[in-house]
Protein backbone atom coordinates (compact mmCIF):
# COMPACT_ATOMS: atom_id res chain seq x y z
CA UNK A 1 0.00 0.00 0.00
CA UNK A 2 1.37 3.41 -0.71
CA UNK A 3 0.51 6.47 1.25
CA UNK A 4 2.44 9.34 2.75
CA UNK A 5 4.53 7.98 5.59
CA UNK A 6 4.67 10.07 8.71
CA UNK A 7 6.96 10.38 11.67
CA UNK A 8 8.44 7.26 13.27
CA UNK A 9 6.04 5.61 15.72
CA UNK A 10 8.22 2.68 16.70
CA UNK A 11 11.96 3.00 16.87
CA UNK A 12 13.75 -0.14 17.96
CA UNK A 13 17.46 0.21 18.51
CA UNK A 14 19.77 -2.76 19.01
CA UNK A 15 17.59 -4.76 21.36
CA UNK A 16 18.54 -8.08 22.80
CA UNK A 17 16.32 -10.57 24.55
CA UNK A 18 17.53 -13.62 26.44
CA UNK A 19 15.62 -16.37 28.15
CA UNK A 20 18.37 -17.62 30.43
CA UNK A 21 21.22 -18.64 28.19
CA UNK A 22 19.03 -18.63 25.07
CA UNK A 23 19.36 -15.46 23.01
CA UNK A 24 16.02 -15.02 21.28
CA UNK A 25 16.51 -11.52 19.83
CA UNK A 26 19.95 -10.17 19.05
CA UNK A 27 20.80 -6.71 17.83
CA UNK A 28 17.43 -5.98 16.27
CA UNK A 29 16.80 -2.47 15.00
CA UNK A 30 13.86 -1.29 12.97
CA UNK A 31 11.59 1.67 12.50
CA UNK A 32 7.86 1.82 11.84
CA UNK A 33 6.44 5.12 10.66
CA UNK A 34 2.97 6.49 11.18
CA UNK A 35 0.58 4.92 8.69
CA UNK A 36 3.04 2.23 7.72
CA UNK A 37 2.26 -1.47 7.63
CA UNK A 38 5.24 -3.64 8.44
CA UNK A 39 5.26 -7.42 8.12
CA UNK A 40 7.64 -9.70 9.96
CA UNK A 41 8.17 -13.13 8.49
CA UNK A 42 10.51 -15.93 9.37
CA UNK A 43 10.71 -19.54 10.47
CA UNK A 44 9.17 -20.82 13.66
CA UNK A 45 11.15 -19.95 16.77
CA UNK A 46 12.96 -17.06 15.11
CA UNK A 47 11.66 -14.63 17.74
CA UNK A 48 8.82 -12.90 15.88
CA UNK A 49 6.30 -13.16 18.70
CA UNK A 50 8.89 -12.13 21.23
CA UNK A 51 9.65 -9.05 19.16
CA UNK A 52 5.99 -7.99 19.03
CA UNK A 53 5.47 -8.71 22.71
CA UNK A 54 8.55 -6.69 23.60
CA UNK A 55 7.02 -3.66 21.91
CA UNK A 56 4.11 -3.48 24.35
CA UNK A 57 6.19 -4.63 27.32
CA UNK A 58 4.62 -8.05 27.70
CA UNK A 59 8.23 -9.30 27.59
CA UNK A 60 11.03 -7.17 29.02
CA UNK A 61 14.11 -6.89 26.81
CA UNK A 62 17.61 -7.35 28.17
CA UNK A 63 19.35 -4.61 26.18
CA UNK A 64 18.71 -1.77 23.78
CA UNK A 65 15.91 0.72 23.36
CA UNK A 66 12.34 0.56 22.13
CA UNK A 67 10.55 3.87 21.71
CA UNK A 68 6.86 3.88 20.98
CA UNK A 69 5.49 7.30 20.12
CA UNK A 70 7.99 8.91 22.47
CA UNK A 71 7.71 6.37 25.31
CA UNK A 72 10.84 4.41 26.19
CA UNK A 73 9.67 0.84 26.79
CA UNK A 74 12.93 -0.52 28.19
CA UNK A 75 12.73 1.61 31.32
CA UNK A 76 12.08 0.35 34.85
CA UNK A 77 9.80 3.35 35.44
CA UNK A 78 7.77 2.67 32.31
CA UNK A 79 4.15 3.85 32.56
CA UNK A 80 2.63 0.62 31.25
CA UNK A 81 -0.86 2.02 30.99
CA UNK A 82 0.30 4.94 28.85
CA UNK A 83 2.11 2.48 26.57
CA UNK A 84 -0.79 0.08 26.30
CA UNK A 85 -3.23 2.83 25.44
CA UNK A 86 -1.12 3.41 22.35
CA UNK A 87 -0.50 -0.19 21.38
CA UNK A 88 -3.16 -2.76 20.54
CA UNK A 89 -2.20 -6.40 20.15
CA UNK A 90 -4.15 -9.27 18.63
CA UNK A 91 -3.06 -12.83 19.31
CA UNK A 92 -3.20 -16.06 17.36
CA UNK A 93 -5.66 -17.61 19.83
CA UNK A 94 -7.96 -14.51 20.03
CA UNK A 95 -7.96 -14.70 23.87
CA UNK A 96 -11.37 -13.07 24.26
CA UNK A 97 -12.93 -12.91 27.71
CA UNK A 98 -15.19 -15.97 27.55
CA UNK A 99 -17.67 -14.77 30.19
CA UNK A 100 -18.55 -11.59 28.30
CA UNK A 101 -20.52 -11.07 25.11
CA UNK A 102 -18.89 -9.74 21.97
CA UNK A 103 -20.15 -6.25 22.74
CA UNK A 104 -19.00 -6.42 26.36
CA UNK A 105 -15.57 -7.67 25.29
CA UNK A 106 -15.17 -4.55 23.17
CA UNK A 107 -16.51 -2.28 25.93
CA UNK A 108 -14.55 -3.64 28.89
CA UNK A 109 -11.16 -1.96 28.58
CA UNK A 110 -12.48 1.55 27.78
CA UNK A 111 -14.82 1.23 30.77
CA UNK A 112 -12.43 -0.32 33.27
CA UNK A 113 -9.09 1.06 32.16
CA UNK A 114 -9.92 4.40 30.56
CA UNK A 115 -12.99 4.97 32.78
CA UNK A 116 -14.92 6.46 29.88
CA UNK A 117 -18.69 7.01 30.18
CA UNK A 118 -20.72 3.91 29.43
CA UNK A 119 -23.08 5.23 26.75
CA UNK A 120 -20.18 6.67 24.80
CA UNK A 121 -18.23 3.42 25.07
CA UNK A 122 -21.23 1.37 24.05
CA UNK A 123 -21.93 3.49 20.99
CA UNK A 124 -18.32 3.20 19.89
CA UNK A 125 -18.25 -0.56 20.55
CA UNK A 126 -21.30 -0.99 18.31
CA UNK A 127 -19.63 1.02 15.57
CA UNK A 128 -16.49 -1.10 15.85
CA UNK A 129 -18.44 -4.35 15.69
CA UNK A 130 -20.22 -3.00 12.62
CA UNK A 131 -16.85 -2.18 11.13
CA UNK A 132 -15.70 -5.79 11.50
CA UNK A 133 -19.12 -6.90 10.19
CA UNK A 134 -20.39 -8.43 13.41
CA UNK A 135 -23.35 -6.23 14.26
CA UNK A 136 -25.57 -9.28 14.37
CA UNK A 137 -23.30 -10.95 16.96
CA UNK A 138 -23.22 -8.25 19.63
CA UNK A 139 -24.94 -10.45 22.20
CA UNK A 140 -23.07 -13.67 21.39
CA UNK A 141 -20.50 -15.14 23.76
CA UNK A 142 -17.06 -16.05 22.38
CA UNK A 143 -17.92 -19.75 22.73
CA UNK A 144 -20.80 -19.20 20.32
CA UNK A 145 -18.64 -17.59 17.63
CA UNK A 146 -16.45 -19.11 14.93
CA UNK A 147 -12.70 -18.58 15.10
CA UNK A 148 -12.82 -15.88 12.45
CA UNK A 149 -15.64 -14.08 14.23
CA UNK A 150 -13.80 -14.27 17.55
CA UNK A 151 -10.68 -12.88 15.92
CA UNK A 152 -12.63 -9.95 14.50
CA UNK A 153 -14.11 -9.25 17.94
CA UNK A 154 -10.55 -9.32 19.29
CA UNK A 155 -9.53 -6.76 16.68
CA UNK A 156 -12.50 -4.55 17.59
CA UNK A 157 -11.61 -4.95 21.26
CA UNK A 158 -8.10 -3.62 20.61
CA UNK A 159 -9.37 -0.80 18.41
CA UNK A 160 -11.73 0.31 21.18
CA UNK A 161 -8.70 1.65 23.03
CA UNK A 162 -7.98 3.94 20.09
CA UNK A 163 -4.41 2.74 19.65
CA UNK A 164 -1.79 4.49 17.54
CA UNK A 165 -0.25 1.15 16.65
CA UNK A 166 -1.71 -2.30 16.09
CA UNK A 167 0.30 -5.49 16.50
CA UNK A 168 -0.97 -8.71 14.94
CA UNK A 169 0.69 -11.99 15.86
CA UNK A 170 -0.21 -14.69 13.34
CA UNK A 171 -3.83 -13.79 13.75
CA UNK A 172 -4.99 -16.10 10.99
CA UNK A 173 -2.80 -19.09 11.84
CA UNK A 174 -5.56 -20.90 13.70
CA UNK A 175 -8.22 -20.30 11.04
CA UNK A 176 -9.38 -22.23 8.02
CA UNK A 177 -8.95 -20.60 4.58
CA UNK A 178 -12.56 -19.40 4.47
CA UNK A 179 -12.51 -17.53 7.78
CA UNK A 180 -8.94 -16.40 7.23
CA UNK A 181 -10.19 -14.18 4.48
CA UNK A 182 -12.71 -12.34 6.69
CA UNK A 183 -9.93 -11.44 9.09
CA UNK A 184 -7.47 -10.45 6.40
CA UNK A 185 -10.07 -8.18 4.83
CA UNK A 186 -10.49 -6.44 8.16
CA UNK A 187 -6.75 -5.92 8.55
CA UNK A 188 -6.40 -4.72 4.96
CA UNK A 189 -9.13 -2.11 5.58
CA UNK A 190 -7.38 -0.93 8.71
CA UNK A 191 -4.09 -0.57 6.87
CA UNK A 192 -5.82 1.26 4.04
CA UNK A 193 -7.31 3.70 6.53
CA UNK A 194 -3.79 4.54 7.62
CA UNK A 195 -3.57 2.57 10.86
CA UNK A 196 0.05 1.86 11.75
CA UNK A 197 0.37 -1.92 11.78
CA UNK A 198 3.03 -4.43 12.54
CA UNK A 199 2.12 -7.96 11.72
CA UNK A 200 3.70 -11.36 11.97
CA UNK A 201 2.28 -13.64 9.35
CA UNK A 202 2.85 -16.76 7.33
CA UNK A 203 0.52 -15.51 4.59
CA UNK A 204 3.10 -14.41 2.04
CA UNK A 205 0.50 -13.32 -0.50
CA UNK A 206 -1.15 -11.13 2.08
CA UNK A 207 2.18 -9.72 3.25
CA UNK A 208 3.10 -8.87 -0.32
CA UNK A 209 -0.18 -7.08 -0.81
CA UNK A 210 -0.60 -5.21 2.44
CA UNK A 211 2.94 -4.47 3.64
CA UNK A 212 4.94 -1.34 2.99
CA UNK A 213 8.01 -3.05 4.31
CA UNK A 214 8.94 -6.63 5.04
CA UNK A 215 11.40 -7.93 7.60
CA UNK A 216 12.74 -11.46 7.46
CA UNK A 217 14.00 -12.80 10.79
CA UNK A 218 15.93 -15.93 11.51
CA UNK A 219 17.73 -17.02 14.65
CA UNK A 220 16.74 -13.82 16.45
CA UNK A 221 18.25 -11.42 13.92
CA UNK A 222 16.91 -9.49 10.95
CA UNK A 223 18.45 -11.22 7.97
CA UNK A 224 17.13 -8.76 5.44
CA UNK A 225 14.33 -6.32 4.82
CA UNK A 226 12.87 -4.20 2.07
CA UNK A 227 9.71 -3.17 0.26
CA UNK A 228 7.69 -6.24 -0.79
CA UNK A 229 8.31 -5.91 -4.52
CA UNK A 230 12.07 -6.08 -4.08
CA UNK A 231 11.98 -8.45 -1.18
CA UNK A 232 10.03 -11.17 -2.91
CA UNK A 233 11.72 -10.81 -6.31
CA UNK A 234 15.34 -10.24 -5.41
CA UNK A 235 16.08 -11.62 -1.99
CA UNK A 236 19.79 -11.10 -1.47
CA UNK A 237 20.48 -13.69 1.18
CA UNK A 238 20.63 -17.39 0.63
CA UNK A 239 18.74 -17.96 3.91
CA UNK A 240 15.87 -15.73 2.76
CA UNK A 241 15.62 -17.42 -0.62
CA UNK A 242 15.56 -20.85 1.01
CA UNK A 243 12.74 -19.75 3.31
CA UNK A 244 10.75 -18.18 0.48
CA UNK A 245 11.20 -21.25 -1.71
CA UNK A 246 9.78 -23.31 1.11
CA UNK A 247 6.70 -21.20 1.80
CA UNK A 248 5.79 -19.83 -1.63
Amino acid sequence: MSHELGAPIVVIDAIEKRFGALVVLRDISLTVRRGECVCVIGPSGSGKSTLLRAINALVPVSKGSIRVDGIEVNDPDLDKLALRRKVGIVFQQYNLFPHKTALENVMMAPLHVLKQPKDEVEARARRLLAKVRLSDKEGAYPGELSGGQQQRVAIARSLAMNPTLMLFDEVTAALDPETKKEVLVTIRELAAEGMTCMLVTHEMGFAAEVADHIYFTDGGTIVEHGPPAEFFKNARHERTRAFLDQVL
Binding site: H99, V113, L114, Y141
Partner: protein, 251 residues
Protein backbone atom coordinates in the same frame (compact mmCIF):
# COMPACT_ATOMS: atom_id res chain seq x y z
CA UNK B 1 -54.41 -22.80 62.13
CA UNK B 2 -56.93 -25.62 62.26
CA UNK B 3 -54.69 -28.05 60.41
CA UNK B 4 -51.66 -27.03 62.53
CA UNK B 5 -53.71 -27.87 65.58
CA UNK B 6 -54.70 -31.19 64.00
CA UNK B 7 -51.05 -32.06 63.37
CA UNK B 8 -50.11 -31.12 66.93
CA UNK B 9 -53.00 -33.26 68.23
CA UNK B 10 -51.88 -36.19 66.11
CA UNK B 11 -48.30 -36.02 67.48
CA UNK B 12 -49.70 -35.80 70.99
CA UNK B 13 -51.73 -38.92 70.32
CA UNK B 14 -48.63 -40.62 68.80
CA UNK B 15 -46.67 -39.90 71.95
CA UNK B 16 -49.43 -41.18 74.21
CA UNK B 17 -50.43 -44.25 72.19
CA UNK B 18 -47.04 -45.43 70.84
CA UNK B 19 -44.44 -43.63 72.97
CA UNK B 20 -42.96 -41.83 69.94
CA UNK B 21 -42.50 -38.43 71.45
CA UNK B 22 -41.81 -35.64 68.95
CA UNK B 23 -42.39 -33.03 71.59
CA UNK B 24 -41.46 -30.07 69.41
CA UNK B 25 -44.52 -30.80 67.26
CA UNK B 26 -47.01 -30.10 70.03
CA UNK B 27 -45.18 -28.57 72.96
CA UNK B 28 -44.80 -24.80 72.51
CA UNK B 29 -41.84 -24.54 74.89
CA UNK B 30 -39.82 -27.32 73.24
CA UNK B 31 -40.71 -25.99 69.82
CA UNK B 32 -39.53 -22.48 70.68
CA UNK B 33 -36.24 -23.87 71.93
CA UNK B 34 -35.78 -25.89 68.79
CA UNK B 35 -36.64 -23.00 66.49
CA UNK B 36 -34.17 -20.78 68.33
CA UNK B 37 -31.53 -23.44 67.70
CA UNK B 38 -32.53 -23.64 64.06
CA UNK B 39 -32.29 -19.89 63.55
CA UNK B 40 -28.93 -19.78 65.35
CA UNK B 41 -27.59 -22.53 63.09
CA UNK B 42 -28.91 -20.78 59.99
CA UNK B 43 -27.42 -17.41 60.75
CA UNK B 44 -24.20 -18.92 62.07
CA UNK B 45 -23.91 -20.82 58.77
CA UNK B 46 -24.69 -17.79 56.65
CA UNK B 47 -22.21 -15.59 58.54
CA UNK B 48 -19.49 -18.24 58.27
CA UNK B 49 -20.21 -18.85 54.58
CA UNK B 50 -19.90 -15.15 53.76
CA UNK B 51 -16.80 -14.62 55.89
CA UNK B 52 -15.08 -17.80 54.72
CA UNK B 53 -15.60 -16.76 51.10
CA UNK B 54 -14.06 -13.38 51.92
CA UNK B 55 -11.12 -15.10 53.60
CA UNK B 56 -10.76 -17.29 50.51
CA UNK B 57 -10.83 -14.31 48.14
CA UNK B 58 -8.31 -12.26 50.05
CA UNK B 59 -6.07 -15.27 50.67
CA UNK B 60 -6.10 -16.34 47.04
CA UNK B 61 -5.28 -12.78 46.00
CA UNK B 62 -2.41 -12.60 48.51
CA UNK B 63 -1.07 -15.94 47.29
CA UNK B 64 -0.26 -14.19 44.03
CA UNK B 65 1.55 -11.36 45.83
CA UNK B 66 5.06 -10.39 44.89
CA UNK B 67 6.39 -10.57 48.45
CA UNK B 68 7.54 -14.11 49.35
CA UNK B 69 6.84 -13.25 52.97
CA UNK B 70 3.15 -12.65 52.27
CA UNK B 71 2.91 -15.84 50.24
CA UNK B 72 4.59 -17.82 53.01
CA UNK B 73 2.20 -16.34 55.57
CA UNK B 74 -0.81 -17.40 53.51
CA UNK B 75 0.65 -20.88 53.02
CA UNK B 76 1.24 -21.17 56.77
CA UNK B 77 -2.31 -20.06 57.51
CA UNK B 78 -3.73 -22.64 55.11
CA UNK B 79 -1.56 -25.43 56.50
CA UNK B 80 -2.51 -24.59 60.08
CA UNK B 81 -6.26 -24.53 59.53
CA UNK B 82 -6.37 -27.40 57.10
CA UNK B 83 -4.19 -29.78 59.07
CA UNK B 84 -5.69 -29.40 62.54
CA UNK B 85 -9.12 -30.56 63.80
CA UNK B 86 -11.75 -27.80 63.77
CA UNK B 87 -12.90 -28.73 67.27
CA UNK B 88 -9.39 -28.15 68.60
CA UNK B 89 -9.20 -24.86 66.70
CA UNK B 90 -12.47 -23.76 68.28
CA UNK B 91 -11.29 -24.72 71.75
CA UNK B 92 -7.99 -22.96 71.12
CA UNK B 93 -9.77 -19.72 70.25
CA UNK B 94 -12.35 -19.93 73.00
CA UNK B 95 -10.08 -21.02 75.83
CA UNK B 96 -6.56 -19.92 74.89
CA UNK B 97 -6.90 -16.86 72.66
CA UNK B 98 -9.89 -15.43 74.48
CA UNK B 99 -8.07 -15.59 77.80
CA UNK B 100 -5.20 -13.61 76.34
CA UNK B 101 -7.52 -10.77 75.24
CA UNK B 102 -8.61 -7.93 77.55
CA UNK B 103 -12.04 -7.99 79.19
CA UNK B 104 -14.51 -5.22 78.40
CA UNK B 105 -17.42 -3.69 80.27
CA UNK B 106 -20.82 -4.37 78.73
CA UNK B 107 -23.89 -2.09 78.77
CA UNK B 108 -24.93 -3.39 82.22
CA UNK B 109 -21.52 -2.69 83.72
CA UNK B 110 -20.47 -6.35 83.87
CA UNK B 111 -16.98 -7.47 82.88
CA UNK B 112 -17.29 -9.70 79.83
CA UNK B 113 -14.82 -11.15 77.32
CA UNK B 114 -14.08 -9.07 74.23
CA UNK B 115 -15.48 -11.82 72.01
CA UNK B 116 -18.18 -14.17 73.29
CA UNK B 117 -18.67 -17.84 72.43
CA UNK B 118 -20.82 -17.09 69.37
CA UNK B 119 -18.20 -14.65 68.13
CA UNK B 120 -15.46 -17.25 68.50
CA UNK B 121 -17.53 -19.83 66.67
CA UNK B 122 -17.99 -17.44 63.74
CA UNK B 123 -14.30 -16.51 63.67
CA UNK B 124 -13.04 -20.06 64.09
CA UNK B 125 -15.27 -21.69 61.46
CA UNK B 126 -14.76 -18.83 58.99
CA UNK B 127 -11.00 -19.24 59.19
CA UNK B 128 -11.27 -23.03 59.02
CA UNK B 129 -13.48 -23.06 55.93
CA UNK B 130 -11.67 -19.98 54.57
CA UNK B 131 -8.38 -21.91 54.49
CA UNK B 132 -10.03 -24.51 52.27
CA UNK B 133 -11.61 -21.77 50.17
CA UNK B 134 -8.18 -20.25 49.56
CA UNK B 135 -7.00 -23.55 48.09
CA UNK B 136 -10.21 -23.94 46.10
CA UNK B 137 -10.01 -20.43 44.64
CA UNK B 138 -6.33 -20.88 43.92
CA UNK B 139 -6.98 -23.98 41.87
CA UNK B 140 -9.65 -22.02 39.98
CA UNK B 141 -7.30 -19.12 39.37
CA UNK B 142 -4.62 -21.49 38.12
CA UNK B 143 -7.12 -22.95 35.65
CA UNK B 144 -7.66 -19.56 33.98
CA UNK B 145 -5.50 -19.61 30.84
CA UNK B 146 -2.52 -17.29 31.07
CA UNK B 147 -3.29 -16.08 27.56
CA UNK B 148 -6.57 -14.64 28.84
CA UNK B 149 -4.90 -12.65 31.62
CA UNK B 150 -2.24 -11.56 29.18
CA UNK B 151 -4.95 -10.16 26.91
CA UNK B 152 -6.23 -8.12 29.85
CA UNK B 153 -2.71 -6.96 30.64
CA UNK B 154 -2.19 -5.91 27.03
CA UNK B 155 -5.38 -3.82 27.25
CA UNK B 156 -3.91 -1.88 30.14
CA UNK B 157 -5.51 -3.72 33.07
CA UNK B 158 -3.57 -3.61 36.32
CA UNK B 159 -3.16 -6.87 38.22
CA UNK B 160 -6.03 -5.98 40.54
CA UNK B 161 -8.34 -4.95 37.68
CA UNK B 162 -7.53 -8.10 35.77
CA UNK B 163 -8.25 -10.13 38.90
CA UNK B 164 -11.58 -8.41 39.51
CA UNK B 165 -12.94 -8.33 35.97
CA UNK B 166 -11.34 -11.34 34.28
CA UNK B 167 -9.53 -13.84 36.49
CA UNK B 168 -11.92 -14.05 39.36
CA UNK B 169 -15.18 -14.29 37.38
CA UNK B 170 -13.71 -17.20 35.43
CA UNK B 171 -11.99 -18.87 38.37
CA UNK B 172 -15.17 -18.65 40.42
CA UNK B 173 -17.18 -20.52 37.81
CA UNK B 174 -14.51 -23.19 37.61
CA UNK B 175 -14.42 -23.79 41.34
CA UNK B 176 -18.12 -23.43 42.24
CA UNK B 177 -18.67 -27.21 42.62
CA UNK B 178 -15.68 -27.55 44.97
CA UNK B 179 -16.80 -24.45 46.85
CA UNK B 180 -20.26 -25.97 47.25
CA UNK B 181 -18.80 -29.11 48.84
CA UNK B 182 -16.74 -27.07 51.26
CA UNK B 183 -19.74 -24.94 52.27
CA UNK B 184 -21.80 -28.07 52.94
CA UNK B 185 -19.00 -29.23 55.22
CA UNK B 186 -18.95 -25.85 56.88
CA UNK B 187 -22.67 -26.01 57.69
CA UNK B 188 -22.18 -29.42 59.28
CA UNK B 189 -19.14 -28.18 61.18
CA UNK B 190 -21.22 -25.50 62.92
CA UNK B 191 -22.54 -28.23 65.27
CA UNK B 192 -19.12 -28.14 66.95
CA UNK B 193 -20.16 -24.82 68.46
CA UNK B 194 -22.18 -27.01 70.85
CA UNK B 195 -18.90 -27.65 72.66
CA UNK B 196 -18.61 -24.01 73.73
CA UNK B 197 -22.30 -23.61 74.55
CA UNK B 198 -23.52 -21.80 71.46
CA UNK B 199 -27.30 -22.43 71.36
CA UNK B 200 -27.36 -23.88 67.86
CA UNK B 201 -29.44 -26.85 66.66
CA UNK B 202 -27.55 -29.67 68.38
CA UNK B 203 -27.44 -27.69 71.63
CA UNK B 204 -31.17 -26.96 71.44
CA UNK B 205 -32.00 -30.58 70.64
CA UNK B 206 -29.89 -31.74 73.58
CA UNK B 207 -31.76 -29.34 75.86
CA UNK B 208 -35.05 -30.75 74.64
CA UNK B 209 -34.10 -34.40 75.01
CA UNK B 210 -32.50 -34.00 78.41
CA UNK B 211 -35.77 -32.65 79.79
CA UNK B 212 -38.30 -34.51 77.71
CA UNK B 213 -36.34 -37.79 77.49
CA UNK B 214 -36.91 -38.25 73.77
CA UNK B 215 -33.31 -38.71 72.57
CA UNK B 216 -34.20 -41.09 69.77
CA UNK B 217 -36.90 -38.87 68.30
CA UNK B 218 -34.84 -35.69 68.59
CA UNK B 219 -31.86 -37.38 66.92
CA UNK B 220 -34.05 -38.22 63.95
CA UNK B 221 -35.48 -34.70 63.89
CA UNK B 222 -31.96 -33.30 64.08
CA UNK B 223 -30.68 -35.40 61.20
CA UNK B 224 -33.70 -34.59 59.05
CA UNK B 225 -33.27 -30.89 59.81
CA UNK B 226 -29.66 -31.00 58.61
CA UNK B 227 -30.71 -32.88 55.51
CA UNK B 228 -33.16 -30.06 54.81
CA UNK B 229 -30.66 -27.25 55.52
CA UNK B 230 -28.01 -28.82 53.30
CA UNK B 231 -30.62 -29.46 50.59
CA UNK B 232 -31.45 -25.74 50.57
CA UNK B 233 -27.77 -24.84 50.34
CA UNK B 234 -27.15 -27.32 47.53
CA UNK B 235 -30.22 -26.09 45.66
CA UNK B 236 -28.97 -22.53 46.00
CA UNK B 237 -25.46 -23.43 44.81
CA UNK B 238 -26.83 -25.27 41.79
CA UNK B 239 -29.02 -22.33 40.88
CA UNK B 240 -26.03 -20.07 41.18
CA UNK B 241 -23.98 -22.37 38.98
CA UNK B 242 -26.72 -22.39 36.37
CA UNK B 243 -27.04 -18.62 36.47
CA UNK B 244 -23.32 -18.19 35.93
CA UNK B 245 -23.10 -20.70 33.11
CA UNK B 246 -21.57 -19.13 30.00
CA UNK B 247 -23.20 -20.09 26.69
CA UNK B 248 -20.80 -22.08 24.53
CA UNK B 249 -18.14 -22.32 27.23
CA UNK B 250 -17.25 -25.37 29.28
CA UNK B 251 -14.84 -24.65 32.05
Amino acid sequence: MGSMQAIADWFKWLAGAHGINVSIAYDAFDRARFLTGLSTTVWLSVACIVLSILVGLVGAWLQGARSPLVRAAVAGFVQFFRNTPPLVQLAFFYFAVSAALPMVTDQFGARVPLVNNVGWAVISFSLFAGAFNIEIFRSGIEAVPQATTEAAEALGYTRLQSYIYVVFPLAFRICLPALGNNLVNLVKTTTLAYAIGVPELLYAAAQVWSETFNVREMMVVLLLTYVAIVAVLVWFMQRWERRLRIPGYNA
